[in-house]
């Protein structure tokens, strides 16, 4: 046990170093503008610069590529308006499950974030809003104790300060490595939303690729308004599990945003180019809700 604590202490030192580097979240991470990006869907190549100016939507096939939380904020919010909350929160159980610590460290290094969600307060078209963005690049956006706690604190902050709330989901579900504690985050976040809603709070849930498992089965599906990005995978169980259970091949469009909308579970599919304006319109409509 002692060596685990020692290891964790070393880790914390590493994180502190990482966090002390000045970093503005309003600037997307550095990249080589002439670098070529290949679309995950059609395989079409574009320069990273063109892709970025097209909001990381493939110009050939309209596929909406995954965004980092920083890219999402850059596209969406008023310049320099973001104040991050609970940035340094980390889990006390990363050393407990075999292989978890290594995997976690790699994800920290690759993303520059300490967890799979970025939370804070920003203005969008002048509307002050509590905002959470899950990061599919960080352990598949999975929800463990920290993701659940950060989201719950943000909901409570929105409740206290009478702010509207927007959560961008992108997650494979609950984080297996943290076991039952991950499962309980579904109950915790949903309970916080229940109280927020009872107090008149306004919550927009935006489902992005992918939103599945314990995240879709908790806060992601509880929006007063639920939006989805085109083509996003949205569902509860994984495709392979379902195919194995029912012993049939599922249609290609199964569990897409379009499919889920047809079944009646999202309010609107909104292309990335229209997202900021749609959110501003919805926030303006519900200004009274937050007072």
């Amino acid at each position: 046990m002692n060596h685990l604590f020692k290891k964790r202490k070393e880790q914390l030192g590493f994180f502190q170093g990482l966090l002390s580097k000045p970093k503005s979240v309003n600037i997307p991470r550095e990249f080589n503008e002439s670098a070529i990006m290949v679309c995950d869907s059609c395989g079409g190549a574009s320069s990273k610069k063109d892709m970025a100016s097209n909001l990381f939507v493939c110009p050939s096939c309209n596929y909406h590529l995954k965004l980092t939380p920083q890219q999402r904020l850059y596209q969406l919010i008023d310049e320099n308006s973001f104040r991050e909350t609970n940035r340094k929160m980390s889990s006390t159980s990363v050393a407990l499950f075999p292989g978890y610590l290594d995997k976690y460290n790699k994800n920290v290094e690759n993303t520059g974030n300490l967890e799979a969600v970025v939370c804070g307060v920003a203005t969008i078209g002048g509307n002050k809003t509590a905002i959470a963005i899950l990061d599919a690049h960080f352990m598949m956006g999975s929800m463990g104790s920290v993701v659940g706690e950060k989201i719950t604190r943000l909901i409570e902050l929105a409740d206290r300060k009478k702010l509207p709330l927007i959560i961008f989901s992108a997650s494979g579900g609950a984080r297996m490595q943290e076991g039952i504690n991950s499962l309980m985050q579904m109950a915790k976040t949903s309970a916080a939303l229940a109280h927020f809603g009872d107090n008149g709070g306004f919550y927009i849930s935006v489902l992005t690729h992918p939103t599945t498992g314990g995240v879709s089965a908790s806060f992601a599906m509880l929006g007063d308004i639920i939006l989805a990005e085109p083509g996003a995978l949205i569902g509860f169980a994984g495709r392979r599990v379902i195919e194995k259970t029912v012993n049939e091949k599922l249609p290609d469009n199964f569990q897409t945003a379009e499919f889920i909308k047809e079944k009646g579970f999202v309010d609107r599919i909104v292309a990335r180019k229209q997202l900021r304006n749609t959110l501003i319109t919805l926030l303006e409509y519900h200004k009274e809700a937050s007072i």
């Binding site: 104790s145 076991g179 309980m184 109280h195 089965a217």
Partner: protein
Amino acid sequence: MSHLTAWDRICIARSQNRPKSRDILPKLFEDIIELYGDRCYGDDAALIGAIGRFEGMPVTILAQSKGRDLQENLACNFGMMNPEGYRKAMRLAKQAEKFHRPIITIIDTAGAFPGKGAEERGQAEAIASSLKMFATIQTPVLAIVLSEGGSGGALALSVADRIYMMENAVYSILSCEGFASILWKDETRAKEAAELMECTSIDLAKKGIIDGIITEPEGGFDHQSDEVYGQIRSIIRRELNILTKIRVKNLVQQRYEKFRAMGNV
């Protein structure tokens, strides 16, 4: 009590001979009247919904039902609920709230059903709504994990003021097969996963997730284990006695704080 491995307990919990919801309900409640359907799509036999009396007090019973033989197993989909099951649970929970009846849930499921129709009818939405509704329902809720409590499918009926587990029951983020499949892409390592998952009643009591354990005789309880049924009755008696005396507003607040505290950060 603790010489059994987690895998041993999983095997006991899943044994076909172990009493199922249909066996234990008549031993705990009188005048049971089953109520069916979600008033929306259909009835889900994987969830028994009923009104009954516990030592004279009217209660609403929501019990996941795996079935006692193959015919029943098939009829109730081995206890794996569809969205209409969760919607039936919510309907009857709201009814319980309206008529001031405490709710007793019995958990026994490997998980929510991963079927095609379940996705089409909004399995995720049904579970999410259930979590949200139980979080603020204005009546006492007592959950008992009978054998298997798997993933969101079990959690949806366990957002309760008190959660008890049978000694040999397991309660986890996913079945150990699913866990092994996700982490190692190898379902056959389920036994290994079981030991890592901390899913036994003893593990969960230590973590403060549950409020107590109902002890079982060596090898698991059976239809003749009157002492075990006596323990369950005395827990229900004691907890209902406490919970029904708490003002509803405080009860909901305490329930919030209970789940609010869960997690390691």
